[in-house]
Structure formats: structure tokens, C-alpha cells
């Protein structure tokens, strides 16, 4: 087996299916398979080139296209799936891996919040907890400790929603433009989160193809994996999300800064720091999480995130543009996990220079993330136009 490092792995295919509030004629399996074929085609490959598959419907892809026997993983989706696929390629377990995901038809009764937001654990379910409330407890603590304002949160939401407003493929395309005042005027969901501070729910599929850099030689725009990291603090939505609580490793590695260690690992592997990042494809379950991530990853000091996002850096043309397709607030939130892969897909599109809207000119390094403090985990992936 050929031994490689993560730096020898590239992303060569990405695809989002159409995203919509309701995808007529689709279920989760059909939209996952559609997403997969699109990503394989985007890579200029055929299904038989795939010898590794990640995702809940990966087995169906293997069977339907008769590509077996191949490597398969049930890795959690999003960045962990990308890193595991990259490791499989680096270790020689596979040469070309497809990650595919999609959801449709699992949340069409809207009297309740989406099923993936509702924990069943004994210590939270009797109190009517759901993700917005869990994340709100973190945001309120930050506001109390550092004086972070609702205006900072609302500004983040307005910027992301405006990125989606101009994106033709966003579920909420054309719904804006939004100002921070619009966000503050929307109805309260869980203080301090107004409706427009929160992710939406929608349906869609997403897929991605990785291979080794030598196999991708000569192709247009292979995007290199520079580094990554995964930070977990244990089961979310069971134990109270206490901002200051942590493990026994290091005093500054607390739930409130979850993702710090992951970003340190990613930056070290890439030989880069926050100042080298050109575009921040940060996961945006709630507006506050963008503020928190800039602090956790060292773009600014802890407690400074509120002022940081108001300093003109996150808007189009700013030093650190965020979530440029509209993210989970406006582009799509296709279920429990689809949207986690979409931060990576957008990062790839930015580095290819092919975004039809909000393209960051000359972007060479993208930072993609997933998770959040209320869920007590954060994943980080650094992508680049060239090998470190």
C-alpha cells in the first residue's frame, strides 16, 4: 500500500442537489443518490472510479452502481467524514472516496421543531429543550460575561442572510436584503435568538469526491486538504452546556471555546494561522456561534467577538468573509447532517474561484467548520489551492 499524508489528498468533485423547503418527488435515499452522481460527474469520473463510500445511503450507491467490493464507512457526516475519507486514501485503503448525504420527507409536520433538534434525554426533554434553547444558554452566558450585544448577533445574521439573498441556489434566494433591525424585529424564539438568528429547515442532498493528488494531476482546480481537527466534550443535549466547564487537559479548553484545539491542530498541520485565512466558511446554526468561533480559533480574543464582527471584517469585501452562500440560515439546512458537508463544498467552490455570487477574489485558504457550543463539539477543516 502506498503511504501518503493528508496533504496528498485533494477534493475533486462537489455537488449540491437543488435545495428547497420541500423537494417534491424525493426521499432521503433518492436525493442522496442524486447528489452522489452529481459529485462524481463534477469530478469528471464515473461510479466505477469510486472505491470508497461514506454516508447513510452509501451502501445503496455501492449496490445500484455495482461498484463493490469497496471500502465503506459510517462516519458522522460533514468534516469528520472528509477527514476519515482523506485518512483512508492516505493509508491506501481506498484511492477515490465518495461522501454522500441527503434528506427529504423527514420533517413535514411543522407544529413541532425539527426532529433532529429535539433531544430525548431524561435530563433535558422534560424541560422542552431543543437546539435553539441549548445554544441560547451559551449566548446568554457570553453576553453576561463580556457584554456582547443583540446587535452584534443580529449583524451576523443579516450578513449571512444577505449572502443567501443574492445566491440563486439558496432556499431563501430573494428573501432580503436584511438589516440588523430586521433581525431584531423578527419574533423571539429563545432569548436572545430571534427567528432570523436561527437556522431554517429545508431538504436537499450534498456530495463530495476525494482522491489522491497524484491521481488528480492535470485536473482543473483540485483543492488540497491542509489540516483538520475534531473537538468533542461528550454527549450534547444531556449535560447542561456550561460555558466554563471543560475537561482536564488545559484550562482554556472549555465548552465555550470548543474548536480551539481542533483549529490549533489544523493550523499547525497547515503551517498557517488565522491571518492566512481568506474565507471563513463557518457553520452558522445560530448567529452567536460565528462570534464564538472567531474567538475560539484565535481571530480575536475571548470576549472580543462581538466587536470583531461589527468591525467590517465579515461582510463581502471584508478581511474575513463568512458563510458566503447563506449557510443554514438562507442557503439550506437539509436535515440532521446534510448542511454540515455544505460548508466544505462552499469552501471548495471558493478556492476553485467558481462561485457565481460572493466569490472572494484570489482566495487561497478556506476555513470550513461544523458543530457548535450548544452541541459541545466543533470540527475544523482547512483547505487550500496548493499543498503546504
Amino acid at each position: 500500500m502506498t503511504q501518503r499524508s493528508l496533504h496528498d489528498v485533494v477534493i475533486v468533485g462537489v455537488n449540491n442537489t437543488p435545495q428547497a423547503k420541500l423537494l417534491e418527488g424525493h426521499d432521503s435515499r433518492s436525493v442522496s443518490l442524486a447528489a452522489a452522481l452529481g459529485a462524481v460527474a463534477d469530478a469528471g469520473l464515473s461510479p466505477l472510479d469510486i472505491d470508497g463510500v461514506v454516508g447513510p445511503f452509501g451502501n445503496d450507491f455501492i449496490h445500484q452502481h455495482r461498484i463493490g467490493p469497496v471500502w465503506r464507512s459510517l462516519s458522522p457526516l460533514g468534516i469528520p467524514a472528509v477527514l476519515e475519507a482523506a485518512m483512508a486514501i492516505a493509508c491506501g485503503l481506498a484511492t477515490t472516496v465518495l461522501i454522500t448525504t441527503g434528506e427529504a420527507g423527514s420533517h413535514r409536520h411543522r407544529t413541532s421543531t425539527a426532529p433532529w433538534t429535539r433531544p430525548t434525554n431524561e435530563f433535558v426533554a422534560p424541560y422542552g429543550m431543543f437546539t435553539a434553547a441549548e445554544f441560547a444558554l451559551m449566548a446568554r452566558r457570553h453576553m453576561h460575561l463580556y457584554g456582547t450585544t443583540q446587535e452584534s448577533l443580529a449583524h451576523v445574521a443579516a450578513v449571512i442572510r444577505n449572502n443567501g439573498h443574492v445566491h440563486p441556489e439558496a432556499v431563501f434566494h430573494g428573501r432580503g436584503p436584511f438589516t440588523a433591525s430586521d433581525v431584531l424585529a423578527s419574533r423571539m424564539v429563545a432569548d436572545p435568538f430571534h427567528l432570523l438568528d436561527c437556522a431554517m429547515t429545508s431538504e436537499g442532498g450534498a456530495a463530495l469526491v476525494l482522491t489522491s493528488a497524484d491521481r488528480a494531476a492535470g485536473r482543473v482546480h483540485p483543492v488540497h486538504i491542509l489540516g483538520g481537527g475534531i473537538d468533542h466534550f461528550g454527549p450534547a443535549y444531556q449535560n447542561p452546556p456550561v460555558w466554563e466547564s471543560g475537561g482536564r487537559r488545559r484550562p482554556d479548553l472549555i465548552v465555550g471555546t470548543v474548536g480551539r484545539r481542533a483549529s490549533e491542530l489544523a493550523f499547525a498541520a497547515a503551517g498557517l494561522g488565522p491571518q492566512d485565512v481568506d474565507v471563513c466558511e463557518f457553520y452558522d446554526p445560530f448567529s452567536f456561534e460565528i462570534i464564538r468561533q472567531f474567538e475560539a480559533y484565535g481571530f480575536c480574543g475571548v470576549g472580543e467577538g462581538g466587536d470583531f464582527v461589527l468591525s467590517g471584517v465579515i461582510e463581502p469585501g471584508g478581511r474575513f468573509p463568512i458563510t458566503t452562500d447563506g449557510g443554514t440560515m438562507s442557503f439550506s439546512h437539509g436535515g440532521a447532517a446534510v448542511q454540515l458537508l455544505q460548508r466544505v463544498i462552499r469552501g471548495v467552490q471558493q478556492l476553485r474561484g467558481t462561485c457565481s455570487t460572493m466569490q472572494v477574489a484570489g482566495a487561497e485558504v478556506a476555513m470550513c467548520t461544523g458543530g457548535g457550543s450548544g452541541a459541545m463539539f466543533t470540527d475544523v477543516l482547512l483547505l487550500g489551492t496548493s499543498k503546504p
Binding site: T113, E122, P126, Y127, L137, P240, V242
Partner: protein, 140 residues
């Protein structure tokens, strides 16, 4: 301004686990129980097999005073399911013994100062619709 109250809708109690049965039995008896490490004195919740500070298995059940302060709090205006009536106020309470409990604050107004972070609270118990007793926090 809305008075926060215990939930009265069709909400059922959880199925206790091997670890949590003693905690929920305490609630039914009007007693807030937590574990304390016999080796390093750390107060532990949610119920665990080992001490998260030192790894000891010597965890002893104790009764809390039920007194604490609000560590963080939110007011939910969009209920998670129709079984819950909004508004309600999920909160993390830091108990006097140094542990954290997720519960809801009741018996105060949504815009009251009693809902501020740092405000003193005490634990009270109320049954859910099926009779399963859970702890709440109220201003003290």
C-alpha cells in the same frame, strides 16, 4: 409580562437509567440528590460511574440544599412541541454544592429581575401530567 409556571400539558416523564434511578427517586420524595466523590470532594451531576475530576469510583449520594444561582437562562417563546406551553424559561442553575442542573425557572415574570444571571433560586418539585416528579427553580 407573563407568569412562568410548571408545564401542565401531556408531557411524560423519562425512563430512568441505571445511573439516574436514585436521582429521580429523590425527586419523587422531594429531595434533590447529587453524587459527591469520596476521594476529591467533587460534586457530580449528571449521575456518573466515576468522578470526572479524579477517576475515583467512590461516588456517594448526597442531598442538595436546593439553593443556587442562575448560571444562564433563556426564555423560549416557540415551544418545542405543542405539548409544551410557552413561554418557559430553561436555565442552568449552579447549586451551592458546586454542581450544575438544567431545569426551568417558574413563579416569576418573564421580564422580572428574578430571571437575571446570578439571581438566587431554590429548587421546588412538581409532577408532570403522568405524575413523574421533576425539579424546577424559583426565585428565593
Amino acid at each position: 409580562m407573563t407568569l412562568l409556571r410548571p408545564q401542565v400539558g401531556p408531557i411524560t416523564g423519562p425512563d430512568p437509567s441505571v445511573f439516574s434511578q436514585h436521582y429521580w427517586d429523590g425527586c419523587a420524595a422531594g429531595e434533590l440528590r447529587f453524587q459527591r466523590c469520596a476521594v476529591c470532594d467533587t460534586a457530580v451531576h449528571t449521575p456518573a460511574a466515576v468522578c470526572p475530576s479524579c477517576g475515583s469510583e467512590e461516588l456517594r449520594w448526597e442531598s442538595s440544599s436546593g439553593r443556587g444561582v442562575i448560571h444562564s437562562v433563556t426564555i423560549v417563546w416557540r415551544p418545542v412541541t405543542p405539548a409544551f406551553e410557552a413561554p418557559y424559561a430553561p436555565a442552568i442553575i449552579e447549586l451551592e454544592e458546586g454542581w450544575f442542573l438544567l431545569t426551568s425557572v417558574i413563579d416569576c415574570d418573564t421580564d422580572g429581575e428574578e430571571l437575571a444571571i446570578g439571581a438566587p433560586v431554590e429548587i421546588v418539585f412538581h409532577p408532570l401530567a403522568d405524575g413523574f416528579v421533576i425539579p424546577y427553580a424559583r426565585p428565593r
